[in-house]
Each structure stands twice: as C-alpha cells, then as structure tokens.
C-alpha cells in the first residue's frame, strides 16, 4: 500500500464521524446540531455531488468547455461553508462548487463560467463569495486583504480562503500566511489536501505535513478528516471564532481525496492506481453521514429516496437550462473593462459594431 492510500495516524487528525458512520468524541472539538441540520447537510452534499455529476456529463456532451470535479470533497466544502456567517467572505478556487452552492450562488452562474459565457458569473459582493480564481494561490492574498479590511472596520466579519495541496508551493500562499500573521487578520486558510496536484502526488512536495507549516508562521494549524463533515464544521467554526476574537489566522488541512480527474481534460489512469480510488470509496463523505443518520434513527429510507428523486429532477432541469442557455451580445466583450469612461475603448466598440453591420447575419446589434 502506498502512502497516499494509508490511513493517517489517528492522533493528530480530528474526527467526529468515522468512515463506518460511527460518532466519536474528540478532546478539543465537538458539534451539536439539530436533526434537521444533520438532514439538511446530507441533502446539500447529495445535491452538490449531483451537480458535479451532471456538469461532467454536460462537458462530455459538448455543452461545457471544461469541468473541474469536486467529487469526494463534498464534506470539506459543504462543511466549511456551513460554518460561515452571512457577512463572512469566501475566496474559492475553481473547484469549490460546494462552497459556491452553500453561499447561495445560482449553479447556472457556475455553468456560465465553464460554458464560456462569462469569466465570473455571479456578483461576489452579493454572495460573500469571490469569483472562482484560476491562477493558483492568487485568491489567498486577496482573502487576507479582505480580512485586513474587516479588522480596519472593527467588524466581526471573517474570511475563509480555499486552496489545495499543490498551491502550498506558491509564493502567494506563503506571503498570505506572513501578511495574515503580521496583521492578525481574521482569516481561515482552508487547504483541501486532495493529494493530487494534477498528476503529482502531494507526498512528493509536501515534506512537512501542511498543517504543521503554520507553526513557522506563528499561528495554529489543524489537521481534520476532510471527509467527515461534522469534524470539518467543528474545526472551521472554532477557527472562525478565533479569527473574530482578534486572535488571528488558522490553517486547516482537510485531508481528503480527489476522486475524479483534475479536470475533464485530465486522465488520471496514466498516473495513479485504481486501488487508491477503491480505498477512498470506503471513506466516502456522503455514505458515512447516511449511515450515521440511519443508525441513529434521524432519517430513514424514505428520506434518502426522496432526496435522490429531488436531486435527479433538479439535475434534469439544470441540464435543460444549460442546453438552452443564451449567449451574450458580441459587443459585450468591451463591457466593464474599465469602471470610468474610456473614449479609446468606446471608439473600438463603435468600429466593431460598424464592421459587423456590413454582414447580413452578424448577430451584432448596430
């Protein structure tokens, strides 16, 4: 068995729900949710997985240009975003569909980005959720800056910024740690260690466990079972509370696994073993919550079946909506490049319209 498939040492990794669906206690972290909340978390994870499945299919059918799968990371994403308050702000990468979902972003706006309709989709300020950031690690510094602004405002708002194990090699991520620590910024660094930076296993470039790196920057690091949604919520809530209190940042390493390809352009069969995937299926984040709900009499088969039916119906609607999605007007490529007026660009737009007016069926409004 390779390192990537070996279970992590039990001690440092916070866990409240075992892969077998058993509730366990932890000396520092606990979580007390209502039955309705447990059921709602299950529902959110099922829908996020259904979204991912649908989008992957849509890409295969040529309806999306690309898709970055979140399969297997539902607990890390839904759980950490569940811990946020409304006025908090999330800075996701391009894979955090569960985070965008929990922040109330219309999935059709995510589809716009991967269909090539928009580079951003939604209004970040409306949802407290930044646009997906594609350049690896950039968003970490942006999130730290937003958190510095929360401090200057003397507010209790906090920030969570997402990145993967690969991004920990980036200068921006490490500079983000330094700036956050310097200014005691109310930010939670949420690293989903899904163990693969495209084809490179994290064990190759992570010589010190990621969460331990926080020591060197002067703030706490926590390792959590990223497939245990209860532990993820407990750990993230504690880190956010610490941030709000003015005590500064926390680094959370959520240990999980990228069950799909890096993106739909990737072929993981070239670099990893099928066995790895089978092992991680036994630690599936949705299955273990399902077992817990059933075993404790919180939900029954009717509940699970009804959610599956709802998710299928919803996915059907999404598929139809994506297929009939309109395209923006061609001249909109000139929109919003600048906030203030810009004569030279106005002139280019006018010339563009003028040029297209010469064609019978240009699709450009004159």
């Amino acid at each position: 068995m390779t390192m990537t498939t070996a279970p992590q040492p039990q001690n440092p990794m916070v866990q409240l729900l075992t892969p077998e669906g058993e509730l366990v206690t932890h000396e520092s972290y606990s979580l007390d949710l209502t039955h309705a909340q447990y059921k709602s978390l299950y529902r959110e994870m099922v829908f996020v997985r259904r979204l991912d499945q649908e989008a992957t299919a849509l890409q295969r059918q040529g309806e999306l240009g690309l898709w970055a799968s979140s399969l297997g990371q539902e607990a890390a994403q839904v759980g950490s975003a569940f811990a946020l308050e409304k006025n908090d702000f999330a800075f996701p990468t391009y894979r955090e569909h569960g985070v965008a979902w929990m922040r109330g972003v219309d999935p059709m706006k995510i589809m716009e980005v991967y269909r090539g309709i928009s580079n951003g989709g939604w209004d970040p300020l409306e949802h407290g959720c930044n646009s997906y950031t594609i350049v690896i690690g950039n968003q970490v510094l942006n999130g730290v800056g937003y958190a510095m602004g929360c401090t200057l405002d003397q507010s209790e708002d906090a920030v969570i910024t997402y990145f993967g194990d690969g991004a920990t090699a980036q200068g921006d991520v490490n500079e983000g740690f330094v700036f956050a620590s310097t200014f005691d910024a109310p930010v939670v660094f949420f690293c989903q260690n899904n163990q693969w930076a495209i084809s490179q296993p994290s064990e190759k470039f992570v010589k010190t466990p990621i969460y331990k790196r926080a020591d060197g920057f002067g703030f706490p690091g926590v390792l959590v079972d990223g497939n245990d949604i209860l532990a993820v919520i407990a750990v993230t809530k504690a880190a956010l509370n610490r941030a709000r209190s003015g005590a500064g940042p926390t680094l959370i390493e959520a240990f999980t696994y990228r069950m799909g390809a890096h993106t739909t352009s990737d072929d993981p069969t070239r670099y990893r073993h099928e066995n790895d995937l089978q092992n991680w299926k036994l630690r599936d984040p949705i299955e273990r919550l399902k077992v817990m709900l059933a075993r404790n009499g919180i939900a029954d088969r009717n509940f699970f079946d009804a959610i599956d039916i709802d998710a299928d119906a919803w996915a059907h609607t999404l598929r139809a909506a994506v297929r009939s999605m309109g395209e923006p007007a061609p001249e909109s490529i000139f929109d919003n490049v600048y906030a203030d007026s810009h004569e030279a660009l106005d002139a280019q737009r006018a010339a563009f319209l003028d040029y297209h007016e010469g064609f019978a069926d240009s699709g450009v409004k004159s």
């Binding site: 970040p124 942006n142 800056g145 602004g149 200057l152 490049v337």
Partner: protein
C-alpha cells in the same frame, strides 16, 4: 493658492489631500510609515493619520498588491508604494491576473480603485534594478491605467486623479526629478491628467516625452535652432494620440523620447498611430530617441544609455533635414 514645491513634496501633499477628503484612502507599502518611504514621499503622514491609514507592509510585493485587492473589495481605496521600479515584478502576477481583470470578470460588480506608485527611471547612480522604465508592460494591459507626471504641478494633479479614479492606476514617479522645484496650484486642476499637454509651443517639430524626459526635451528645445513644440503625455494608458496628432498636423514632424528600450516601447505605438492619422501631414519619418535594447547598464555608464538633449537635437536635425 500657489506654492513652490519639489515633486516629492507635491506628491506628499496630494496624498494628504486625498486622505483628508476620503477616509477610505489608505497608504500601504514598505518603509512608508515612520521612515516616510525611501524617497520620503509619505513623510509625516503616518504621524498625522496613524497606523490605520498608513500601513508598513512586510517585504513582499505580490503580498502588497494581492492584499490591496482584498482591501479594495472591502471598500478601501489603497495607495501602494513599490519601493523601486525593478521590484514590481514579484507583483506582476497579481497586477495582470487579478487587478486588471476583476472589474471585467465580475461584470462591473467589484471595482478596484487602487493606485500603485512606482519610482522609475535612471540617472541617480544606483545599483541594478533601481533605474528601470517598465511602463510599457503595464500600458499594454487592458484594465489598467498608467499615469506619469513630469513636474510638481502634474505630480499633484495626476496623483489626485489616480487616487480618485475607480480603475486601477499604475503611477510612475520620475525619481531623478523628485527634488526639482516648481509652482503648484492646489485650488484647481490646471490640466486634465488624462490628456497630453503642450508644455512649450513651437512650429517646426513636435517632441513627445513623458516623466523624466520632459525636462530633457525642454532643454533640447531651449538649445535648438528650430522651434520645438514639447508635449508631455502624462497618461500613457489611455494614450491621448489626438493631442499629438493636432500638433503634428501643424508641425509635420515628430520626435518621440523615452528612457525605456526602443523595441516595442511606447514610441512604437505612438509612431504607428501618428503614421496613420497624420500620413499626409508628415514631412519626415518619425524619429525615436530611446534607451538602447540592453539591460540597464551599470551606473558609471548610464549617461551613455539615457537619452539626453544632444541625442534629441540630432533627431530633430534629421527630421528637419529629411
């Protein structure tokens, strides 16, 4: 109200004015607090506005720009100082990939009114990386605006315009002219900073310059046997080519001057535009007087690199004799 000020002091007063009129304006950069910046442009502002308005940054340029983007998303209007031209490159990724694109990406929801002040250009006898002219890189990027003043008055009005702009502005300060004096009128903005301005009228040749080279061009105009019209661009992006064309339509000759290497420099863009718009007015080929296409030389040799008034006069002569 008119005062005799250095460029550095005029910039300092523009920062003060901007901070007084908008509590969201904050200064962020290396050594800008108690020290007042290595060129003292922020002198006294930390003392008067405090830790929450003037923030000393850790020594990491990408960090400065990257966090400023977040501050702007939170409603702040950061004015950043990059210590020297050659040190902006670690921040290049944040500037190109995020700063320039966020407004467009968010369909106009998120504005990033960030000013990045960068002392630039040579002539101060410095070590490597302290004398560069990287303005072309930024003028090439859609979503950014680029301004550079040439004297105390334009320093004051251009910096205020940069800070008030709702777009990101890269603001290049001609460091070897920091201590040049001139009058500054604080009560009104005498020229629109987004427009080129004629700093000396003439009838034979139009000389276009910006930043530190405006003074050099004026020296050439004083020494020339011909009547030179000197234009100070102020805004490098957008480029006010209409004002240049208006002048060239009268003179029929154009010389473009900048310190940056000539290859693909702003002079190339200006020449292409004027070559088209003034094709039937031009009496001679457009001349460029620029830095050579070499890494900035060691300081003992920099006088051979930097365009001076003699090189401008030679170009003027060739334009007149063509």
């Amino acid at each position: 109200m008119t005062n005799e000020l250095t460029i550095a002091k005029a910039l300092n007063q523009a920062l003060r004015t901007a901070m007084e009129e908008d509590s969201k304006v904050l200064l962020f950069g290396e050594d800008i607090g108690k020290l007042g910046g290595v060129f003292r442009v922020t002198d006294g502002l930390h003392k008067d506005f405090g830790d929450h308005r003037v923030l000393d940054a850790p020594l990491a340029e990408s960090g400065i720009v990257g966090t400023a983007i977040g501050l702007a998303m939170r409603g702040y209007r950061p004015v950043l100082e990059i210590q020297f031209d050659g040190f902006v490159f670690p921040a290049f990724d944040q500037i190109i990939s995020q700063l320039a694109k966020v407004h467009r990406r968010t369909n106009g929801s998120v504005k990033l009114p960030i000013t990045i002040r960068i002392p630039y250009g040579g002539g101060i006898g410095a070590v490597e990386h302290h004398s560069e002219s990287p303005e072309t890189f930024f003028a090439h990027i859609p979503g950014l605006r680029v301004l550079t003043p040439s004297d105390p008055q334009s320093a004051y009005s251009c910096l205020l315009s940069a800070i008030r702009s709702n777009d990101p502005v890269i603001f290049f300060e001609p460091k070897r002219r920091y201590w040049d004096k001139g009058s500054v009128d604080h009560t009104q903005s005498p020229a629109d900073p987004w427009r080129a301005r004629i700093v000396r009228t003439g009838s034979d040749v139009t000389v276009v310059a910006y930043g530190p080279m405006v003074k050099t061009a004026l020296q050439a105009a004083n020494a020339s046997e011909y009547s030179l019209e000197v234009i100070d661009l102020q805004s490098l992006s957008p480029l006010d080519d209409r004002s240049i064309a208006d002048s060239v339509e009268r003179t029929g000759r154009l010389v473009i001057v900048h310190e940056a290497p000539g290859n693909l420099g702003l002079g190339a863009e200006i020449a292409a535009r004027i070559g088209k718009s003034c094709f039937y007015n031009l009496e001679a080929p457009i001349e460029r007087v620029t830095g050579y296409d070499i890494p900035y030389p060691p300081s003992k040799l920099e006088e051979h690199y930097l365009p001076d008034h003699d090189r401008i006069l030679v170009a003027v002569d060739s334009a007149m004799e063509a």
